[in-house]
């Protein structure tokens, strides 16, 4: 694993979050939620600090980070794009929208554009099935999408 290269104040933020949950190993999921909320992702260095503070092996922390899909070790783009691949969106053509996004951004699922502007991910059900197929850019929901609307949608953020 990487040696810790984080700045002192970042380490302090992590320590504070751990302390707010009483440094209990049983709270590790809540701690990771808090830390990812601050940094956007959970790189190896961050996991090491968390493990140290909660007195548990780094392998356990990594096991949890890699188990749950909400946690990520890859930084997200400035405008994270999430395409809903719930069943309702799937049968209404979400895959075609996803293909169009991959083509436009020239990245695959889970990747980030080289300029750090967009990252592309899938999720399962936004809960707006009436608007299927749905994609989210940041917090904004785009409904009833067709592949040819994709360039215009991206243009809003370019």
């Amino acid at each position: 694993m990487a040696t810790i290269k984080l700045s002192e104040d970042k380490i302090q933020i992590i320590k504070d979050i751990c302390a707010s949950f009483g440094n209990r190993s049983g709270e590790v999921i809540n701690v990771l939620h808090g830390v990812q909320g601050q940094f956007g992702y959970l790189p190896a260095e961050v996991q090491q600090v968390v493990a140290h503070e909660l007195h548990m092996p780094v392998s356990k922390v990594y096991g949890i980070v890699s188990f749950y899909s909400f946690f990520t070790m890859v930084p997200k783009g400035e405008h994270p794009i999430n395409v809903c691949l719930g069943t309702a969106c799937y049968v209404r053509g979400a895959e075609k929208v996803l293909d169009a996004l991959k083509r436009e951004l020239k990245i695959e699922i889970g990747e980030c554009t080289p300029d750090g502007k967009f990252s592309l991910n899938c999720l399962r059900c936004v809960g707006a099935c009436g608007l299927a197929p749905v994609a989210m850019v940041g917090e904004k929901v785009y409904g009833r999408l067709t592949p040819d609307q994709v360039p215009a949608m991206l243009a809003e953020y370019r």
Binding site: R24, S25, G26, E27, V28, I29, N30, L32, H33, G63, I64, F67, Y68, S69, F70, F71, L85, G86, T87, A88, C89, Y90, V91, R92, K96, D99, A100, R103, L123, R124, C125, V126, G127, A128, C129, G130, L131, A132, V134, V141, G143, P147, D148
Partner: protein
């Protein structure tokens, strides 16, 4: 104190919020302010009305006018016409597709006529962020009745007699579950609410939590009283920020009103609720996996027994129920087991909430009595198939369920009949498909999901599902043989019998049910290398009809793969040579078809 004579109810569910209902709310506030009506008209953001297809929805009470597809710009019109002058804005009313008549009252809409709302009783009626509104509609009355008039044994007996079964999918009798937990003596017990809704295409629990969080708080307290627990935990998906916020508000307000905390209503009973956040793992819907996740571990299931009722959260007896199950509890206490069990079928009592979605006209959240047929749901409530196309299949139970077909349309829906038909109730996702859906591809879609979500603990699920996915992939690429189909069936049977938990045991269901009901389609993929739905890309090719092509070149310009080029053939009557698509470079995105104004391109 203001005396309101009119109430504006605006849907604040996820679907309507996504189409800007927040701005509609703000506009109502501003424009009512301009007309000095803020003391007479109350504006409330409610939970989901259910009719998501026509969202955002605005309802005006007391005359029960139901406005659909409202935009923020429409608000001025509604205020000035309807509220000030008393004239309904007909352009925003629902139009009955059969006779093109405007329907202003939701009670007369086909979508609502056959519904019976028990779990969703308050969704769309109350402001979920205000406990007083819940109390005004009978909230916490059931808790009061339990604490003052009933013993814990009587509460359990009532729930048992009602015939309520777990709404999370498996349908275990709720009263029995409570009784098992109540019998175990311990210094601490837990009531756990499973709000980790991970089924893709299902949003029932989320809508209940967003629309009526107080009923869950109340039901958990009732459960705590019945089984002797003083602590409640809600395991909720971190991806549901709105539901989390509203639940937190409800818990906070309940504490202020003395409905949670110590000595509730002076009865000596203590109960409080905390939240625990899930982090996106489908397997955590399984109760042992959920408990491990709450303890801060990987959400892997363990063998039962021991059941959570004996050894659950932190090794203490715990009772896990789903959100929708809890939502039924207060009504059963107030109206009685006899009333509840009069609804539904012999073995499945009450109602079930479904998230109706897919290729159907009326997408939305519906609650129907058990025993209703699929035909009634799809053609009456759902308004039939989108675009007048043909019904092909309906998928229930998500990745654990199966696809039902035309021959099942008149099957009464309950736990047992769905299992008999090769599917299952599941948590309530119901996705309708038409002829544009390819069944092997749907099976593959679900298996991709299961493979991604398999926790990896047991071999049948971790390795077996992967192997099945590989075979399905071969089928959809047209590279399989009939032996592969046999292998797929065998493997499915083995996984069903040998996987550790519910996720693995049910993961072959989408494959088995589509093979049973759509065998021809599998054979077509294998033998004829054809996909009749036009979904499997490897099995289709885009072709330009050179007689119809006028050679404008618009297809080539829009082709992202530069797979289209000019030929040296000019069709009679046309000036330019026609175009052709090169199969090897074509990525089958379909952009050319959309660009061609002359209908010269088709899929074969």
């Amino acid at each position: 104190m203001s005396k309101y004579n009119t109430h504006v109810l605006i849907c604040g569910g996820t679907g309507c919020k996504s189409s800007n209902s927040g701005q509609i709310y703000e506009n109502f506030k501003t424009i009512l302010g301009e007309h000095n009506l803020t003391d007479e008209v109350q504006v409330i953001k409610t939970g989901c009305f259910g009719f998501c297809e026509k969202g955002p929805i605005v309802k005006i009470m007391p005359d029960n006018t139901f406005y659909t597809n409202v935009t923020p710009e429409d608000v001025r019109n509604i205020v000035e016409e309807h509220i000030v002058k008393g004239r309904k804005v007909s352009s925003l009313l629902y139009v009955n597709p059969e006779n093109n008549e405007h329907v202003s009252d939701s009670r007369h809409m086909e979508f609502y006529k056959k519904q019976v709302r028990i779990a969703l009783r308050n969704c769309g009626f109350v402001d979920p962020e205000n406990i007083e509104e819940s109390i005004a509609r009978g909230g916490y009355e059931a808790l009061g009745k339990c604490l003052t008039e009933m013993t814990p044994e009587q509460v359990i007996a009532e729930i048992k007699a009602s015939g309520l079964r777990g709404r999370g999918g498996a349908g275990f009798p709720t009263g029995l579950k409570w009784e098992l937990c109540a019998k175990n003596k311990a210094d601490q017990k837990y009531v756990i609410c499973n709000a980790d809704e991970g089924d893709p295409g299902a949003f029932m629990d989320r809508s209940i939590l967003e629309g009526d969080p107080n009923s869950i708080v109340e039901a958990m307290a009732i459960c705590g009283y019945a089984i002797g627990a003083t602590k409640g935990l809600v395991y909720i998906r971190a991806e549901y920020p709105l539901a989390i916020d509203r639940l937190k508000i409800a818990i906070e307000q309940a504490r202020e009103y003395g409905l949670l905390g110590e000595n509730i209503m002076g009865s000596g009973f203590d109960f409080d609720i905390e939240l625990r956040y899930g982090a996106g793992a489908f397997v955590c819907g399984e109760e042992t996996a959920l408990i491990h996740s709450m303890e801060g571990q990987r959400g892997e299931p363990t063998l039962k027994p021991p059941f959570p009722a004996v050894s659950g959260y932190l090794g203490k007896p715990s009772n896990v129920n789903n959100v929708e199950t809890f939502a039924n509890v207060p009504v059963i206490i107030i109206k009685g087991a006899e009333w509840f069990s009069s609804i539904g079928t012999e073995k499945s009592k009450g109602t079930k909430v479904f998230a109706l979605a897919g290729q159907i006209n009326n997408v939305g959240l519906i609650e129907v009595p058990m025993g209703i047929t699929l035909r009634e749901i799809i053609y009456e409530i759902g308004g039939g198939i989108k675009g007048g196309r043909e019904f092909k299949a309906v998928q229930t139970g998500g990745p654990s369920g199966g696809c039902l077909t035309k021959k099942h349309l008149d099957t009464p829906i309950d736990y047992d009949s769905l299992v008999a038909a090769g599917s299952m109730m599941g948590s309530g996702g119901m996705v309708v498909m038409d002829e544009t859906s390819c069944m092997p591809a749907i099976a593959k879609f679900y298996l991709e999901f299961t493979c991604e979500e398999s926790c990896g603990k047991c071999t049948p699920c971790r390795v077996g599902n992967k192997r099945m996915l590989e075979i399905l992939d071969k089928i959809t690429r047209g590279e399989s043989t009939m032996d592969d189909l046999q292998a797929l069936r065998n493997l499915a049977g083995v996984i069903k019998d040998s996987a550790l938990c519910g996720l693995g045991q049910t993961s072959p269901n989408p494959i088995l049910s589509t093979m049973d009901n759509f065998w021809d389609e599998y054979v077509e993929h294998v033998v004829d290398k054809k996909c009749r739905a036009g979904v499997c890309k490897k099995l289709m090719s885009y072709v330009i009809d050179r007689e119809k092509c006028i050679g404008c070149g618009k297809c080539a310009k829009g082709c992202p793969a530069e797979a289209i080029a000019k030929t040296d053939y000019t069709a009679p009557g046309h000036k330019l040579p026609s175009m052709e698509i090169h199969g090897e470079t074509c990525i089958k995105c379909g952009a050319c078809i959309n660009n061609c104004k002359f209908g010269a391109i088709s899929v074969q």
